[in-house]
Amino acid sequence: MSTKEYELFNRDTTAIIFGLQANAIQRMLDFDMACNRDKPSVVAVVNENKEGWHKVFWGEKEILIPMYRTTRRACEAHPEADVMINFASFRSAYRTSMKAMEEDSIRTLVIIAEGVPERRAREIRNKALTLGKTVIGPATVGGIAAGAFKIANTGGTLENILEAKLHRPGHVGFVSKSGGMSNEAYNIIARNTDGLCEGIAIGGDSFPGSTLFEHVMRYEANPNIGMIVVLGELGGREEYKIVDALNDGKISKPLVAWVTGTCAKILPASIQFGHAGAKADSNEESADAKNEALRKAGALVPKSFDDLDVLIKETYDKLVKTGKFKPAPEITPPPVPNDFSKALSEGLVRRKTEVVTTITDDSGEELLYAGVPISRFIEEGGGIGGVIGLLWFKKKLPKYATDFIELILVLTADHGPAVSGAHNCIVTARAGRDLMSAVASGILTIGPRFGGAVSGAAEMIKGAVDEGLSPAEFVAKMKAKGKNIQGIGHRVKSVRNPDKRVELLKDYAARHFNKTEYLNYALEVEVITTKKKDNLILNVDGCIGILLLDMMCELGFEKEELEEIIANGGLNGLFLLGRTIGLIGHYMDQKRIKEGLYRQPWESILYSLPKEKELETA
């Protein structure tokens, strides 16, 4: 906090930022680092939508800056912060600025928004004058005290800032209307003097919160400033206050001034310059008249902007000769780490990745499935079977294969409400749970006894064939192990009541596959098992798994690839995917008909509890 009247910012100044402007905050802290400040210049953020913490870099370390919902709370918690930088939009800049000025601890208010109504801007200034506070803006980039404190985005990138030597103070005070030209001005000053001490852009509006004249007078009072540079603009009469002060001998320091807009006389009157205030309503407000008045009053005014650099240099050199101050020494700034994304884009760093994907790429202009742009995939008539080929197996599958996959999805989509998956889904839906919960409860039922035998069947049959067992040997071996053969057996279907779905699958394979080695083997197994029991037929899971095996062999999948797919349960995925369609259907159905909570009827339950006595232990 500064106590000197002429000083708005020093190396201890801290600010509260209204609005979560992550980039601006980071740039302020990076500047602090380059200046070797002890503490960050931003102590709090006001975010009307959210309180909590905002994470920023302080050098290479991350720190947290507290975030409050109101200016009041931020000021209470951080009474040492005497600057507020208000990033509120033009709509709310007035309200939030008036509030901020009511805080005793806020001494300087910066308003960034462009388009604050003039009448409101005038009220803001009036209140500031009444309360003895300083307002910079509206419609400004802010300003900078070199080597001490930087407002928001002033000065541009850190590279710009270091090139313009803003990380340490020189002896020149600068004030302009334009923020856009301030970077250029700092560059001109850095190249022709020992650098900037303080620079302020008051903003381009007609009624700025503080004026060129007021900042000039601050610079006049500041013993660290040796000379003053002013960049005015056509429109308004502000520069005449400087003229008066010069005439009254109130400005003792060399003052270099230029008023831009001398070209207005050759432009049609109807062209409006970028700034709201940049319009001369009378000849006195023209750039030529103001430049002439300043020149007469003793300001150093170049013939054109083109000579401004030379004039600044001459003025500075003369001043140094008087020995009033010693040129500021050059200071090598401490290194400030680059932002990772910036360094990456410039090829300065690399890092190991944490995640690898080989199937989808969303980082380019168009989404890629296994390298195929989705628009082309669709153009080529790709369907869901093709997508599965790309995303599951990373292969462009031929039509007979994608059709076969789609056939599987159709056949497995649902099998009525009585099967365990659908039942669980229905019970969950009726308990009032959401889509995700109901479908998940159905899916979680899928396993070796229900729908999950696809992979298992493929694995067992493939194992038997690879081992060279005859179907009879295989059945005997499984019996000896006391293991069920996966994919064999059905609760209701039997030899006399065949499963239509299995028929359809076999039929498709017969028509489209060149050979069905594994299916043939499984059917021989079925011949043996059905002799033992009528319902030990090749069921739909088994048939799917085994035919997928045949299909993948025919498509030339590598042996290892195939085994990996099976071992990872990949083939179960088709049942899972197909049945999800049915589960979603059941969920929607139950909701649609507004079924209430399901309760198992007592009469369908056998209660068989032990007697209490039986529980006693010895």
Binding site: R122, N126, G180, E184, D205, S270
Partner: protein
């Protein structure tokens, strides 16, 4: 942009909603208006004698013979038809007449004056019993009331001025009028309002000529007060196809792209990044005495993408390479700019480079010397690409960075022209 003029028609509509006793009998004719339909909506048009004048943000209409007084409806229409879409010259600005205001003709004796203006520290109200065309000559008679920022207009203050200037019988009415008008002035975020003259007819205040400027940034506060109004483009400001094209580019992107062609046969063309810098280049060319040769004014800023920059550059290159200089001089293109804050210089140059490549042959044919100066993020890459381009195309491109004063490229080019 703030401070924008509105049509007298819209101003009077606004007055009629705020002032006691003023009905706001006004009608507006533009090239699309169907007179029969208008007369049907506003029956008074056929019942009253009328006054007609253009309503296009320019004054001194009487002096230019552009007011028709005491006309019947048919006469008024004939008068308008004769002038609609015709070019006239007013105060050395040429423009097309497109909008006409029609009001009842009101014979009156007294002409009074009131105006209100926003100043840095106060609003100022001007009041005079001697209004009309001579108000400036009789400025000594004008009374002023200052309303400092943060204060309200006191009735007593108005009374004091009104007593000094107006007859007893009119005082109460004029006091009310000023109070109501000021309330509208404040609530409607006017930056300027002048009613010169107003008169009193049948015990009511009647505004005759009205000029109003609004602070357009206050639109979000003033929807209800303003009603449905548009900000017309200033009289005489028409857009060439190229300017209109750039306007459209500007409205389509979030960036800012501006172009005004000042003198198509000028030999100094500019393509400058940033509003502040564009003024400084135009200033320097003017101050060095070459204002008459400056062909265009404009700027691109706000990080336009390469596509937008390409179209912008192409438009300028196209304009400047259509014909050789009539005096056999070289043409100069200044691709200027200050030190950008965050704009990637190499990226914005990409669009310009594309356009330069396309026009390389024409550039050589016409004789164009190109000067580049820019700084900011990635400027070294951008400048190097410009240098390489010049070599590859065989076009003279002189390239400078932040080590060279921003406007030096203007003086380099102009000193060549001088010699």
């Amino acid at each position: 942009m703030a401070k924008r003029g509105i049509r007298e028609y819209d101003a009077k509509k606004m007055l009629s909603r705020s002032l006691t006793g003023y009905e706001g009998m006004v009608a507006l004719m533009d090239p699309q208006t169907d007179p029969a339909e208008l007369a049907k909506r506003k029956p008074w048009l056929k019942q009253k004698r009328l006054v007609v004048k253009p309503d296009q943000l320019f004054g001194k209409r009487g002096k230019h013979g552009l007011i028709a007084v005491d006309k019947s409806w048919d006469e008024a229409i004939a008068w308008i038809t004769e002038r609609m879409n015709k070019e006239v010259e007013v105060s050395s600005i040429k423009g097309e007449l497109t909008h006409f205001l029609i009001e009842p003709f009101v014979p009156h004796e007294k002409e009074y004056y009131v105006a209100m203006r926003v100043g840095p520290e106060s609003d100022t109200i001007y009041l005079s019993k001697s209004g009309g065309v001579n108000v400036e000559e009789l400025w000594d008679e004008v009374g002023t009331i200052e309303v400092p920022v943060g204060e309200y207009l006191e009735g007593a203050t108005v009374d004091k001025e009104v007593e000094r200037h107006f007859e007893e019988k009119d005082r109460k009415m004029i006091r009310e009028f000023v109070m109501e008008l000021y309330e509208l002035f404040v609530n409607g975020h006017f930056s300027y309002l002048e009613i010169n003259p107003f008169t009193i007819v049948e015990g009511k205040i009647l505004p005759l000529d009205t000029v109003a400027k609004l602070d357009d940034t206050a639109e979000f506060e003033c929807g209800d007060v303003w009603g449905d109004l548009e900000f017309p483009i200033p009289f005489g400001r028409s857009f060439s196809p190229e300017e209109a094209f750039v306007n459209e580019l500007d409205s389509k992107t979030g960036a800012s792209l501006k172009l005004s062609v000042l003198n198509p046969t000028g030999n100094i063309w500019t393509m400058v990044a940033g509003g502040g810098a564009s003024v400084i280049y135009a200033d320097t060319i003017t101050d060095l005495g070459f204002g008459k040769d400056l062909a265009n004014y404009g700027e691109y800023s706000g990080n336009p993408n390469a596509e937008a920059t390409y179209h912008y550059a192409k438009t300028i290159l196209d304009l400047m390479t259509r014909e050789k200089d009539p005096n056999g001089r070289k043409k100069y293109l200044l691709i200027g700019g200050g030190i950008a804050n965050f704009t990637d210089v190499a990226k914005t140059f990409a669009g310009i480079i594309r356009a330069l490549k396309e026009y390389a042959e024409k550039i050589k044919d016409i004789g164009v010397e190109i000067y580049v100066r820019r700084g900011g993020p990635n400027y070294k890459v951008g400048l190097q690409r410009m240098r390489n381009l010049g070599e590859n195309l065989g076009v003279p491109i002189h390239v400078y960075g932040p080590e060279t004063h921003i406007t030096k490229i203007a003086s380099y080019a102009l000193s060549e022209q001088r010699s």
